[in-house]
């Protein structure tokens, strides 16, 4: 009950603060107060609220639980991404003055026809990211109140769209900054509890050397249809439907593959090996805790996967449209960079705490490997950390953090999608923007209901791969290479966007399902990002139509702003 109230409170406060337009209490008669820019630290809170999404909050612990330490590359990639953003992207883009990525590219390359093209890449990549947030919403809602998966997707999708079209962008910096605290707290609290627990414990390693097994007697709920595989005979009691047969508290011996229907519960006893969902790797504790090796990662090529994951995530972060626009709120490039420094300082500890949740999940919630619900790892671990009121409170904090994570990011993404659709593609105004919000939300809700069986980080992987391939090179080369041309950019977006989208579709529809083919299609960044850079550079070098007044544009991006201020006294 307490967790539900906590989540309800976060949602309500988000809506109320957003819609009522409480903007830093900026209703004033004091001009000095009203024209004071957003403090870089507070903007950093907002960037963090935007950047800490269901992808990290729910997705990363799930990845760690399932695949082990190889997944730490995801976090490393994101951290490097923020560093790159800080060093190479945030300040120049801010100084150039453009609001969105398509506008920046258009202005930098004098290429109006490029704008809708880049906008399409922005929409595609944001859309996959948004689906991941809605998936998180569905999973958390189901975990919290036992409602079917689609309820959370629809409710959150509609709430976010309603909030935005009712003027919810007004207080967005404030709201997202405020959500950051919930997100951070949601990870900090269980981490602290675990840390104290370990400090006072017997020093036994968390990870046992065995394959995943139940530490205690456990009743496992199956919230969706799955096929599980028991490698040893496991005597259990089942209520529900197994292999199409309806049973009620019947003792059954599991061996081999079994179809378990939604709503079934199975009682396991302590020491039973977890019958994993078919397709999951049965990793021993040692395999789990050691990188590379013989794992079913990247189609059996974990080294390739490591590089691909690193590239996709680092170039993906700089090119995610909802992150870059946040720096527009800073008045100068210097402030943008200062904001980003704070972002790094706050997001690094957050990223550092996440893996522990996933690792503990292997002990506390091995059942998630069986019931296809790994994306709820964070919430389930939070729920099982302690008994009684303490447990409820931890659960409440963790669930509230999850809600804040997907709400803030979903609204940022929906703004990016609707903005790109109405502003960059249709070249229209505010009423069309509101309409675009609802179109974006509608399409995403429909698709969000269909992605129940796709892991959050698979969706994020596609999103970052598209962003890293189609948009990343445009930003990096646009800012740092005077020779970049319109045709180079068009070729990059068209080819990069197409190949990565095709790769995502190939994996989505199961056309490729093993070996190198799967590695290349599921995690394309290791080849697609270098390819995109190569195309961009080759085409630009061959292109006779160079951009005019590049020097002026570079000066605009790279020279510090004039520090002349209206009321300043002349020196």
């Amino acid at each position: 009950m307490i967790p539900t109230i906590a989540v309800g409170a976060v949602v309500t406060m988000t809506m109320v603060l957003g819609v009522s337009g409480l903007r830093f209490a900026r209703t004033t008669s004091n001009f000095f107060v009203a024209s004071r820019a957003v403090n870089p630290v507070w903007n950093a809170f907002a960037v963090c609220g935007e950047a800490m999404s269901a992808a990290s909050y729910l997705g990363v612990p799930a990845l760690i639980l399932v695949f082990g330490v190889d997944m730490l590359w995801t976090l490393t990639g994101w951290t490097i991404g923020f560093l790159l953003l800080s060093l190479f992207i945030a300040a120049p883009v801010r100084r150039f003055g453009s609001y969105t990525i398509p506008e920046f590219i258009e202005g930098r390359l004098d290429a109006p026809r490029l704008r809708p093209l880049v906008a399409m890449a922005v929409i595609t990549s944001s859309w996959f990211f948004l689906l991941a947030q809605l998936k998180g919403a569905g999973v958390v809602t189901r975990q919290l109140i036992g409602a079917p998966y689609w309820v959370g997707v629809v409710v959150v999708g509609v709430l976010v769209a309603a909030g935005l079209s009712a003027g919810g962008m007004r207080g967005i910096t404030f709201v997202q900054g405020f959500q950051f605290f919930f997100i951070f707290l949601g990870i900090l609290v269980p981490f602290t509890v675990l840390a104290f627990d370990r400090a006072s414990g017997d020093g036994e390693p968390i990870i046992s050397p065995d394959p995943p097994l139940f530490m205690v007697d456990q009743t496992v709920d199956y919230p969706s249809d799955v096929t599980i595989e028991a490698t040893t005979s496991t005597a259990v009691t089942i209520s529900g439907t197994i292999d199409g047969r309806v049973v009620d508290a019947e003792p059954v011996v599991l061996l081999g593959e079994h179809d378990i229907a939604l709503g079934t519960t199975i009682d396991f006893t302590a020491g039973d090996l977890v019958p994993l969902e078919v397709g999951r790797d049965r990793l021993t504790g040692e395999q789990w805790a050691a990188p590379l090796g013989d794992k079913n990662i990247g189609g059996g090529h974990p080294l390739y996967f490591s590089y691909a994951s690193l590239l996709a995530n680092m170039f993906g972060i700089i090119a995610l449209p909802h992150i870059v626009v946040r720096y527009y709120t800073n008045p100068t490039g210097r402030e943008a960079r200062r904001t980003n420094l704070w972002v790094l300082a706050m997001i690094a500890p957050y990223y550092a705490m996440l893996p522990l949740i996933g690792a503990v999940g292997r002990v506390l919630s091995p059942d998630l490997l069986s019931n296809g619900n790994t994306d709820s790892t964070t919430v389930v671990v939070g729920n099982r950390l302690a008994d009684g009121l303490g447990g409820e409170l931890i659960d409440a904090v963790v669930s509230a953090g999850a809600a804040a994570a997907f709400l803030s990011t979903a609204s940022g993404l929906l703004i990016a999608i609707a903005g790109a659709l109405s502003h960059d593609i249709l070249n229209a105004g505010v009423p069309q923007f509101r309409l675009a919000v609802w179109i974006g939300a509608g399409v995403s809700i429909a698709a969000g209901m269909a992605v129940e069986s796709i892991d959050i980080n698979v969706l994020i992987g596609w999103s970052t791969a598209i962003a890293a391939t189609a948009i990343g090179p445009l930003l990096v080369l646009g800012i740092w290479w005077p020779g970049f041309t319109e045709r180079g950019a068009i070729a990059t977006v068209a080819i990069g966007g197409t190949v990565t989208t095709i790769a995502a579709m190939l994996t989505l529809f199961g056309v490729v399902d093993s070996g190198w083919a799967l590695a290349f299609a599921a995690t394309p960044a290791a080849w697609s990002v270098p390819l995109a850079f190569a195309i961009a550079i080759t085409v630009s070098v061959l292109d006779p139509n160079k951009v005019t007044d590049v020097a002026h544009k570079f000066a605009l991006m790279h020279l510090p702003e004039r520090a002349d201020n209206l009321v300043e006294v002349d020196a």
């Binding site: 337009g21 903007r23 830093f24 900026r26 209703t27 004033t28 008669s29 004091n30 001009f31 000095f32 009203a34 024209s35 004071r36 820019a37 957003v38 003055g97 453009s98 609001y99 969105t100 506008e103 202005g107 003027g167 962008m169 007004r170 207080g171 967005i172 910096t173 527009y328 709120t329 800073n330 008045p331 703004i415 609707a418 903005g419 109405s422 502003h423 105004g429 505010v430 923007f433 005019t548 002026h552 605009l556 002349d564 201020n565 209206l566 009321v567």
Partner: protein, 367 residues
């Protein structure tokens, strides 16, 4: 006639697909939008050579060679000399042929004069392929086309000049009216409240300095707000505390580029036409809302309002006595950001006035 046309076609060597020709002309048009410079001249030369199929084409601005396309012929001196000759004689009506001696060689060269608004501004020289007559009609038509495009470019440029001039005018207009009122008000304070008079004078000087230092057409909303603040401080000297000001500014809107003095003009309008004649206490609300890729600035007063008919007259330009500031702001917004960004005004007699200004976050193209 039909015979003649067939001959034309062969001489022109038009590509089989007319869309190639149209494409080439469209590309040429785009380049001409910048006016006659080295790059656009290169395009004129290239297009002329392709369409008329000649050996080499040179383009001059006045009599200075800007670009040439085709065979590497060193004929700069000859071209420039002849261009001077042609321009002096003002042979603008149609292209002429002459024979040019280049060392030992003799070559047929057609020369046509480029005009913009009937003023000669340059020439095109086309050297024919030996034994193949040049289509003089086509050259003339091409010259006319280039000329009209250059004229459009000139218009664009003069529009930009006009916008700049408007800014200057606005600044100038701001001053006399406002200077007079402020100084009178301060004069009134000197005896009764010398301390206040002193601070008003320093605010006045701040305001003047701020407006003198305006260099560009755009600055950020937060800079504009500081100017509006100074303006209102001075207005208070005159109005006393007869109006309250309420601000609701989304912080996300502060870095957005707004036309210099645009909000100030709207605020001044609200004071002069709304609150000045209103008996009793009035209030002014200034809001800036974050709307994703755009922002919305509203200036609202609860003053006497404007008679919609008079406003309509002012906006139509039939009544030039009042609301000049609003009209100028409207024109400036449209010319800076595009026709969809005009002002919206909601008003009625005795019902206050609300002016809504929409602006894109992305600044307009820097030219």
């Amino acid at each position: 006639m039909s015979r003649n046309r067939r001959w034309d076609r062969r001489a022109l060597r038009l590509p089989d697909d007319p869309s190639d020709v149209l494409g080439a002309l469209n590309e040429l048009n785009q380049h001409l939008r910048r006016g006659l410079d080295e790059r656009s001249a290169a395009f004129i030369a290239r297009t002329t050579r392709q369409l008329l199929d000649c050996r080499v084409v040179a383009v001059t601005a006045d009599s200075t060679l800007l670009a040439q396309d085709g065979e590497a012929v060193d004929w700069q001196v000859e071209v420039e000399d002849h261009a001077t000759l042609v321009l002096e004689r003002r042979r603008t009506a149609k292209p002429t042929l002459y024979t040019m001696s280049l060392g030992r060689d003799q070559a047929e060269v057609a020369v046509a004069v480029l005009t913009s608004d009937d003023v000669p501004i340059g020439t095109i020289h086309a050297m024919t392929v030996q034994g193949q007559p040049l289509n003089m009609n086509a050259l003339r038509e091409l010259t006319v086309l280039v000329g009209s495009q250059l004229q459009i470019a000139e218009l664009d440029q003069s529009r930009a000049f006009a916008a700049e001039a408007e800014l200057r005018a606005l600044r100038a207009q701001l001053s006399p009216h406002f200077l007079h009122n402020s100084l009178t008000a301060i004069a009134g304070l000197v005896n009764t409240d010398p301390i206040r008079a002193r601070s008003a004078i320093s605010q006045f000087s701040d305001f003047l300095r701020a407006s003198f230092r305006i260099q560009s057409d755009l600055w950020t909303l937060s800079e504009e707000l500081r100017l509006v603040d100074l303006y209102l401080e001075l207005a208070r000297v005159r109005f006393g505390d007869r109006f309250d000001v309420l601000l609701t500014i989304d912080p996300e809107t502060l870095p957005v580029q707004v036309p210099v003095l645009s909000v100030q003009t709207l605020v001044e309008n609200a004071l002069r036409h709304g609150l000045e004649t209103k008996p009793g206490q009035g209030s002014l609300h200034l809001g800036a809302e974050n709307d994703g890729p755009e922002i919305t600035i509203t200036v609202e007063d609860d003053g006497v309002g404007i008679d919609p008919d008079r406003l309509q007259q002012a906006l139509n330009g039939t009544d030039t006595s009042s609301h000049v500031g609003i009209l100028a702001t409207d024109t400036r917004l449209r010319s800076t950001f595009g026709p969809e960004y005009g002002l919206m005004i909601a008003t009625a007699a005795n019902a206050g006035t609300k002016v809504i200004m929409r602006l894109p976050k992305n600044p307009p193209k820097r030219g």
